[in-house]
């Protein structure tokens, strides 16, 4: 009734290529953007920001990054935790080494450094495929965590091995450190998310996106029709690494403030982001957001209901969380391997006809 394409014809290829071809979708997108930038900053408090919005935004970036590598290009990576650590530690060294340069640039450079490291660990993908590659990325995961644990230069020789984000501000507004305002942190991350999501959207709808998907679907045929597999895979690792690095840098500097590498960036982090893109939908930017939202909200929800509501001990809630996440992964893979994004797409298809049956 309200979700219609009737009369909405595209007369140029440019229009056909838009992200939101249906008018209703476009207006919805503008509304969400307006709410995100102009409304929410005035309404949120510390709890909401730290428990929900910041992790959501930051994980969304990591999820998009991993989705580009796994969902679009088909290269399985279990090293996300390690690469986020690279972003975090690069940011730390930059912040402490060059205190006068703006945090914004530090984050971007950290992303670049992570892209480089990711490409390095991605080079074996030219010879190794599938599971073997997944296990090879574990080498990256374990080696990097060990590296940041054992080599004192990375944590500026501090006694505890922990890294702490010094206070930084942008336009005279504090963003990192204990004195930062919730809304400032939120907006800072939101800007990154918006820009990076747009970039991801542009890349995946263009030539490079098609190249990635060709490699994913049938890499031999892709090569025969002219895809340079080296360039395609390396670019996927590089772009993915950049996103994951930015995510790690933000995770450390804005969200946590202090990090101990073994706890925060271990193998469980790699699985967490992987689950986000499985549940959310492989090969979908929207899916990355959906998956990130889901896996950030689930523990919060469980904790509030079980511990807050029913009075269960926290370790029981934690066990149940594992159980539910594991079950959900299996259920999604069986029932809807294309994740929440597919459910959303199907819902929209039905909505285009509603209230008519066909």
């Amino acid at each position: 009734m309200f979700y219609r394409e009737a009369g909405d014809f595209k007369t140029t290829y440019k229009d056909d290529n838009q992200t939101f071809p249906i008018k209703f979708d476009r207006y919805r997108y503008y509304a969400v953007m307006f709410a995100a930038f102009a409304v929410i900053p005035f309404l949120i408090n510390d709890y909401w920001v730290n428990a929900i919005f910041l992790p959501f935004l930051i994980y969304a970036i990591a999820a998009i990054g991993l989705n580009i590598l796994v969902g679009y290009c088909g290269q399985v990576s279990l090293g996300t935790g390690g690469f986020m650590a690279v972003g975090a530690y690069a940011c730390y060294k930059l912040m402490t080494g060059f205190p006068d340069i703006n945090l914004f640039f530090h984050i971007i450079i950290s992303g670049g450094i992570t892209a480089f490291v990711c490409v390095l660990f991605g080079l074996p993908s030219l010879r190794i495929k599938g599971f073997y590659l997944a296990v090879a990325t574990l080498a990256a995961q374990f080696f990097l965590v060990w590296l940041f644990n054992r080599v004192p230069w990375f944590y500026n020789n501090s006694a505890s091995g922990q890294i702490n984000a010094p206070e930084r501000s942008l336009f005279d507004i504090t963003i990192t450190g204990p004195n930062a305002d919730a809304w400032a942190k939120y907006l800072f991350c939101l800007v990154f998310v918006t820009v990076l999501a747009l970039i991801a959207r542009n890349l995946t709808r263009g030539t490079i996106g098609r190249t990635w998907m060709a490699i994913r679907d049938m890499d031999i045929a892709a090569e025969i029709i002219g895809v340079n597999p080296l360039k395609a895979k390396i670019s996927a690792f590089a772009v993915s690494g950049f996103f994951v690095g930015v995510s790690g840098a933000l995770f450390f500097s804005v969200y946590l403030g202090a990090v101990e590498v073994g706890e925060v960036f271990g193998i469980n982090k790699s699985f967490l982001v992987l689950f986000m893109i499985i549940i959310g939908g492989l090969g979908s930017i929207f899916g990355s957001f959906a998956g990130a939202a889901f896996l950030v909200l689930l523990p919060v929800f469980l904790k509030n209901v079980l511990v807050g509501g029913l009075g269960w001990p926290t370790d029981l809630a934690a066990h149940l969380e594992f159980l539910i996440i594991g079950a959900l992964i299996v259920i999604f893979l069986i029932a809807e391997p294309h994740g929440l994004a597919q459910l959303w797409r199907v819902a929209k298809e039905k909505l285009r006809l509603w209230p008519f049956p066909h």
């Binding site: 296990v135 054992r150 193998i267 149940l320 893979l333």
Partner: protein, 328 residues
């Protein structure tokens, strides 16, 4: 002979033993992969679950005690009995077979014909599920496991090597027992796979599900059988590791260690799992012994993976894996 060399020999021997234990876990992977093309990430958690169940049954713990207490406000923990190891093992084997049946019915029957990566991710989900389930059922505290296996330093070897080198090698009895059991297990599995009807059917299923179906092999039966076998192997691995270091969460991380073993040995080869395990076991310990002190130690966290990675770059199918010829 120099001291370093003698210590080195001891490290080498211990490495071999560790390698055997890795190989045990890797065996479970190979079985399931051979029969269903599924890389079972949950194998490690299965070992943990099997060990937990064994301890739980032997010590007479109430399943889901923690949960029941939280729901109903009760205070129960134990039934009050203690069972001998033999009964515990039998019950656990039955439990693992039941688990295999459930996994087959509820999960993998619905995923027939899916791409390998989807199957792999399903096993990751299964691992998380089983971990949460196991913790809910038996509690996540560290448990001590004792099925009567001999432990402690082997005195015979200690005295003999002292006589030869002036330094007694510390070789744990448990490791020797593990080696023997692993060897027996491997031999019986190889005989099973090569010479029995079910073993042949298993290999057919590993090659092509559809083709196996068309000659009348019941996929479901083979898969339940294979997962039960893998469950049994997991139990053996769980007993060995659990006796060594207690039954706790870190047991499931052993599975992660088995991955480089498989990468070296190839995913489909039983002898490959053994050789890969030995190489990783020795390599790890020797590297830590020789290079560890120079770089701050704890190289065992990553050495196996990097070694496997380097190896794979030069030989993508592992030592014994089949070379894949791609055709268009």
């Amino acid at each position: 002979m120099s001291d370093t060399f003698i210590f080195g020999m001891e490290v080498f021997l211990n490495g071999l033993m560790a390698g055997v234990l890795y190989a045990l876990v890797a065996l479970g992977f190979v079985l399931i992969y051979k029969a269903s093309g599924i890389f079972n990430y949950a194998q490690g958690v299965m070992a943990l679950f099997a060990a937990m169940t064994l301890v739980g049954i032997m010590e007479g713990r109430v399943p889901f005690a923690h949960l029941i207490n939280a729901l109903f406000g009760t205070q129960i923990h134990h039934f009050g009995w203690h069972l001998p190891a033999v009964f515990g093992i039998i019950f656990t084997v039955v439990a693992m077979a039941g688990f295999a049946w459930c996994v087959q019915k509820f999960i993998f029957r619905h995923l027939v014909g899916q791409e390998p990566i989807i199957l792999f991710m399903a096993t990751i989900g299964l691992a998380y599920f089983l971990e949460g389930f196991g913790d809910l059922m038996w509690g996540s505290d560290i448990k001590k496991l004792d099925v009567g296996l001999p432990q402690g330093i082997n005195l015979l070897i200690d005295e003999t090597t002292f006589g030869w080198f002036g330094y007694g090698f510390f070789i744990d009895n448990l490791d020797i027992v593990a080696t023997v059991i692993a060897a027996l297990l491997v031999i019986s599995l190889i005989i099973f796979a090569q010479y029995t009807k079910q073993g042949r059917a298993m290999r057919a299923v590993a090659d092509d599900h559809q083709a196996a179906l068309s000659v009348g092999i019941s996929l479901n039966f083979i898969w339940v059988m294979v997962w039960s076998l893998a469950g049994f192997v997991a139990l053996v691995a769980g007993i060995m590791w659990g006796t060594k270091s207690g039954v706790q969460f870190s047991l499931s991380l052993i599975a992660l260690k088995a991955l480089p073993v498989l990468m070296l040995g190839g995913f489909t080869s039983i002898p490959g799992a053994i050789v890969g395990g030995l190489i990783i076991g020795v390599g790890e310990k020797m590297f830590e012994f020789l290079v560890g002190p120079l770089v701050g130690g704890a190289t065992e966290n990553w050495f196996a993976y990097v070694l496997a990675l380097l190896f794979l770059v030069f030989r993508p199918q592992g030592l014994f894996g089949e070379k894949i010829i791609e055709r268009v």
